[in-house]
Amino acid sequence: MTTVTAARDAVVPRAADRPARERPSVAATAILLVGAAYCLLPVVWVVLAASKSSAELFSTLTFVPSLHLFDNIAELSTYRQGLFWRWMLNTGLYAGVGAALSAVVSAMAGYALAKYSFRGKASVFNVLLAGVLVPGVILAIPQYLLLAQVGLTNTYWSVLLPSVISPYGIYLARIYAAAAIPDEIVEAARTDGAGELRTFVQVAMPMMTPGLVTIFLFQFVAIWNNFMLPYIMLGDDRLFPLTVGLSGLLNQGASQPAMYTLVVTGALLSIVPLVALFLLLQRFWQVDLAAGAVKA
């Protein structure tokens, strides 16, 4: 529960945040650092490996850096007239537009489920919640078949549209709405004559914003990382996102190892945007899957 946690952190300094008087624990710190090293290892490797020419990649210890990073980037940029950068833009488009629409749709549904009582509410929520448990990837093939019937496969729409619905986003939005919007405020807005839509747009939405940013980010990452849906839907490599494009490059690398340098450089460039997004928006990266269960 982003909002609640953030607000409380601001007022009540927790024991863990106080300057510690106890001596630091060597064992605890060491275990944490081992974990951090394990998680950083492949990332450090790709940074160094991307700096090597393809001859060096196979002949030298890959933890020794070299000077060919910009040559490699230039070479990757010329690969089929900058196809790689087109994949990057496609990925940004799928993830950015898809996640924004998803956050809005989830916010509306979550607000309705949290702040209204109406007949069928429990059933609607349960059906949507069941959607969380539906193995999303299994949907990709029938989605392909259905979109094929309306001629939408192998278009931007075929990846974008199925990405907008996020049962998990709705579930989170409901929790955020329930926690962040007091009933009295909704009532007050109504008493003051605001319509339902206006109450939502001008009163509820601003209060839900931190939660919506979190929903946006999680959906953004989910779409950015998605592989199977675009892999199935798209045939034209000019529509590919990075994941599908790089996986195809790796396939070619199996027969011509010179491609490996391009794959490694592409892998490095493709994680830069998300890592940047992470570091910039750190405070939104907290999520309580079972929120509501631990409060009270």
């Binding site: 196979f58 299994i138 319509g195």
Partner: protein, 340 residues
Amino acid sequence: MTEPITQDAPDRRAAAARRPASAHVLELPPSTEARRRGGRLLGRHAAPWAFLAPAIVLFALFLAAPIGYSVYLSFRTEKVSGLGLGPGSRQEVWNGVANYVSAVADAEFLASVGRVALYGLLVVPVMLGSALLFALLLDARRTRARRFGRIAIFLPYAVPAVISSLLWGFLYLPGVSPFYWVFERLGWSVPSLFSSHLVMFAVANIAIWGGIGFNMVVIYTSLRSIPSELYEAAELDGASQVGIAWRIKIPIVLPSIIMTFVFSMIATLQVFAEPTTLRPLSNSISTTWTPLMKVYRDAFTRGDLYSAAATSVIIAVATFVLSFGFLRLVQSRAFGQEER
């Protein structure tokens, strides 16, 4: 639009915009005119449905319809008459449960289920155990470098499964891997992780690497919401940090752990991207290495949509039974308390 926006005088709106959102609402002008009108386009009874409409429509189109269509296809098959060349020689007909019968009897499918079960037994406990451990370490006062640790361990979440498979794939590949470079200098002969015995661990490691951070943050978020008074008393009584973690913190965050378990289980059953990406690097990964890879192969390489549909329905039902069964088992702790 339900509300003529113009009834809000421009200066009021500007003033409202300068105020924080929560104060704003109290300043809305009482619009008696609107109340007199009574009926609005979006009445109080229609409103929730209007807000739910986009979600319901999208849910129907991209979740419910595909599921329904899969189920339908799974009971159908294609009948070929003659040489199957002329128009009308291929016909879709009902096939009863025959697709299901052949799916569950399929040796490749059973082998892939066995692999996924083993893979899940490897991935889920190791991943969630590490996530819990790191979350507790981040929450412990005496740990140093917590900020760095949190960012570093969460970082893999920013790396798509395809890219992380690619990175680890190179780290496993004897020609490129720095580890094998060192092993070689030391004169050790270390078997390739891509050999058929070890490839399971190679794939599992990628999933564990990618999943620890997210689950750690989920558990850490819920650890942070424990009021510290709850364990300060125990501290005064001389309880150790490990004791506090076991007896106080873990029981309180159990609902979060349960949810991460369910989501991890679902993700495990769907494993597809990692082995598919590793395939060009390893001969040990067949096209039917996981159930979903088999579905993909049946549908797109063989063009047999009907048995692919039956197999995917089986996977979906199994996922449902497992996750709902598990939630039922622990229900009172995870869901339902929100309603109070």
